[in-house]
Amino acid sequence: MILKGFRWLRNVGVLGMNRRNAEYIMRLNPRSSFPLVDDKLKTKKLAEAYQIPTPPLYRVIERHGDLARLEEMLGDHQDFVVKPARGTGGSGIVLVTGRTEGGFIKQSGEVIPTRDLAYHISDILSGIYSLEGLEDRAFLEALVRPDTVFDAVIYRGVPDIRIIVYRGVPVMSMVRLPTRVSDGKANLHRGAVGVGINMRTGATLSGVYRSGVVTHHPDTDKPLTGIQVPHWETMLLFAARAVDMINLAFLGVDLVIDRDRGPLLLELNARPGLQIQVANQAGLLRRLESVDKAPPEILARPETRVAWVLETFATPF
């Protein structure tokens, strides 16, 4: 029974956690590159150098002392996002949509007093949300206003697009839609919905919510399938170019689509999760193996890599 199950997973080409860690992350992703992806500010700087757009940076806060001048530092920005530079899994992120007397309006509609926001940033600085509890930096960046195409299928918050890139080739992707449960965050383990994307057309497939397959959004009950993701080829190109920035052969690239600015790079992930396979109802391993078999010349440039994907992954498999 168990062996039969394992054989089935292998035949479908599902990538398991052990193989992901040993054969892809440990073998292909050098540790020395991790600091660049673990620190969102470093990633941002790097992306700028490679002309990949990111959400505009407002402020970097490095010292507890700066917090006394928080209001002053914000200038006249009405909406913004607070993020820990080294946060994981969306923890420590606060979306502010407006300001009121003596406080800020969170995306949930709740008002957070200035003092509490300062405490939150102070928590970030002392490393509560950072990997290994190291001291951290906080930064404020522009709040992304998501493209209207997703309006029907988001409860609140900003959906993002995760593309898995292997040796520079985008191999699988999904849209992550926040739900009421996930509190506006786009992380699957917090309860966001992941919806697979047809790599050639950029149209959505079915979704994964918790660990089950879904076809409708759990909050809005609108169909998830068949939504055309805008700027699809541009995003594939950004993802393909991420490898030129950083020496990681197995990479998760997270993008958002701003209705004014277009696709923006949010962050990179050296240990992308495996639920994306359920969203796409397809195994990653098979796609990774097909990249390994691809002619070497197509791997040379981002444009040829994207062209190869559009041609090869025409049908979901």
Binding site: F6, R27, S126, R190, V213, V278
Partner: protein, 508 residues
């Protein structure tokens, strides 16, 4: 990519296997140390009376002769000095000194394991001389008597001679020879007569003095003859001319005709030999031998540690198996645990608190900690002070448990101080963070996984046969490391991934 890891694992296994083989084959360690084995408990007591000058009592003691294993030797020497002297295969205990007018009691006891005869090797002994005081004509007579049997194999020659001593000659020799031989036998005694015949037919033989192996208390020893029949020593009862069937029920004390008891300037009275059957575990037989051996591995054995540290190491040496269990649970099953160390440290603490109390206290502290942590979250304390508060809370909880245990008379509650408090603190923090980030379900799963591994690890640590085996063969740790390396290269699916991807299994 897999190759170096596999090579390392195989190398570790080989090291482990080689050292164990060396111990078993050359140092004669028991393969399964916890297995119980039958032994004999021997004890000797005697009363020494002295004269004017210094008295010496020399008594043959059992030696590690032909594979018998001697352990737990105890000497009682009163005011006398005791020395151990090795003479060939014999081990002679010498009690010496000035004996008080009232005499002196001396004693010896040991545990002896008799190994089956095939388990040891003996070299062919040289053919000795005829016994002294045997004239040339008697030697020639003996040669004539046994000449017929020369073509027979040694074992058969022995049987013919034994039969002849009982009076059955087969084809009887001439009457005249027989008469001379009878006279010689009566004059020299059956023992010498036997030795002369055996020498004449070319079989090496020796006189052995010892005790019959039976539960008994006796004041005298027995004498028998051992004859080399090409492959092994066979034992012969000289009075009746009977050959003992293996396993030979005799315990040799001295060989080569040396008397068991010799006393200079004094006398030994009330000598009492006691033999009892006993059953002890094999490692106890090893213990003494290892303590005395000067072989490298014996000198570096864990048995050489002082007793109080040995107890620690018997447990410590099993901890890597606990870690191996965690590897299995996490990488093969896919079950989450709070880190690698928490379950192992908890298992160690359970040894003092007991399983039920230990688990109860663990859950109690984590839940109290969680409630307080939730409340503290509102205070927005900085990371390090916040962890310090939780640590203090954990210590307060543990102290209260101990005090309550004292009032209720529950020792297990008082042993709570040995719970790994730092780990408990981190667990409360992790439990809270997982609850916040991934929900209470995930946090409870992780806590249950940790508790499960702790229980399994506790079970392993408490397995006495396993403790013993690892204590006798610490090189098994290399084998454990090999298993860990193998697991480290397991890139197959986890059991719980079947569950995780089952939806998409159904749909296709």
């Amino acid at each position: 990519m897999k190759r170096p890891a596999v090579l390392l694992a195989v190398a570790l296994l080989l090291i482990s296997f080689a050292v164990i083989s060396y111990r078993v084959i050359w140092l004669k360690y028991p393969i399964f140390p916890p297995v119980r084995t039958k032994v004999w408990q021997l004890s000797m007591e005697a009363h020494v009376k002295g004269g004017e000058r210094e008295t010496s009592a020399m008594i043959g003691l059992p030696s590690a002769y032909r594979g018998q294993l001697i352990a737990e030797e105890r000497i009682h020497s009163g005011t006398l000095n005791f020395n151990l002297l090795r003479e060939g295969p014999n081990q002679i205990g010498i009690w010496s000194g000035a004996v008080s007018p009232r005499g002196e009691v001396i004693g010896y006891s040991a545990t002896i394991q008799i190994k089956p005869p095939r388990s040891y090797k003996t070299r062919t002994p040289p053919l000795g001389l005829y016994p002294p005081n045997v004239e040339k004509k008697d030697q020639a007579l003996a040669r004539r008597l046994v000449a017929n049997w020369d073509p027979l194999p040694p074992a058969d020659r022995l049987r013919r001679i034994a039969a002849a001593m009982r009076g059955y000659w087969g084809t009887p020799p001439p009457d005249q020879d027989l008469q001379v031989w009878s006279a010689f036998r009566d004059k020299q005694g059956r023992l010498t007569a036997f030795l002369v015949l055996l020498r004449a037919t070319g079989l090496p033989a020796q006189i052995v003095e010892g005790l019959p192996l039976a539960e008994s208390v006796t004041d005298s020893t027995q004498t028998w003859i051992e004859v080399w029949t090409g492959q092994e020593w066979e034992s012969l009862q000289p009075e009746k001319g009977e050959i003992y069937q293996p396993p030979v029920p005799l315990l040799p004390l001295t060989t080569n005709g040396l008397p068991v008891i010799r006393v200079i300037n004094g006398e030994l009275s009330e000598v009492r030999w006691t033999l009892n059957r006993g059953i002890i575990s094999q490692w106890r037989m090893q213990f003494d031998r290892i303590m005395r051996s000067d072989r490298f591995l014996d000198r570096w054995s864990l048995f050489r540690l002082p007793e109080e540290f040995q107890r620690t190491f018997r447990i410590l040496i099993l901890v890597p198996i606990g870690a191996l269990m965690i590897c299995l649970l996490r990488n093969i099953v896919g079950f989450p645990t709070f880190g690698v160390f928490l379950p192992v440290l908890m298992a160690l603490a359970f040894r003092n608190t007991g399983l039920a109390y230990g688990l109860g206290i663990f859950w109690g502290v984590v839940l109290i900690g969680y409630v307080v942590r939730r409340w503290i979250d509102k205070l927005r304390l900085l990371l390090v002070p916040r962890l310090s508060v939780i640590l203090t809370l954990v210590i307060i909880c543990i102290t209260l448990f101990a005090l309550a245990g004292n009032k209720l008379g529950l020792r297990e509650f008082m042993a709570v101080g040995l719970l790994p408090f730092v780990i408990l603190t981190m667990t409360i923090e992790r439990f809270f963070v997982i609850t916040e980030e991934s929900g209470a379900r995930e946090a409870l799963w992780t806590a249950a996984g940790s508790a499960g591994v702790a229980v399994i690890t506790y079970g392993i640590l408490e397995l006495e046969p396993l403790q013993l085996t690892f204590f006798v063969y610490p090189e098994l740790l290399f084998a454990v490391a090999a298993a860990q390396v193998f697991l480290g290269r397991y890139t197959g699916y986890r059991l719980l991934e079947l569950l995780r991807f089952r939806k998409f299994w159904r749909s296709s």
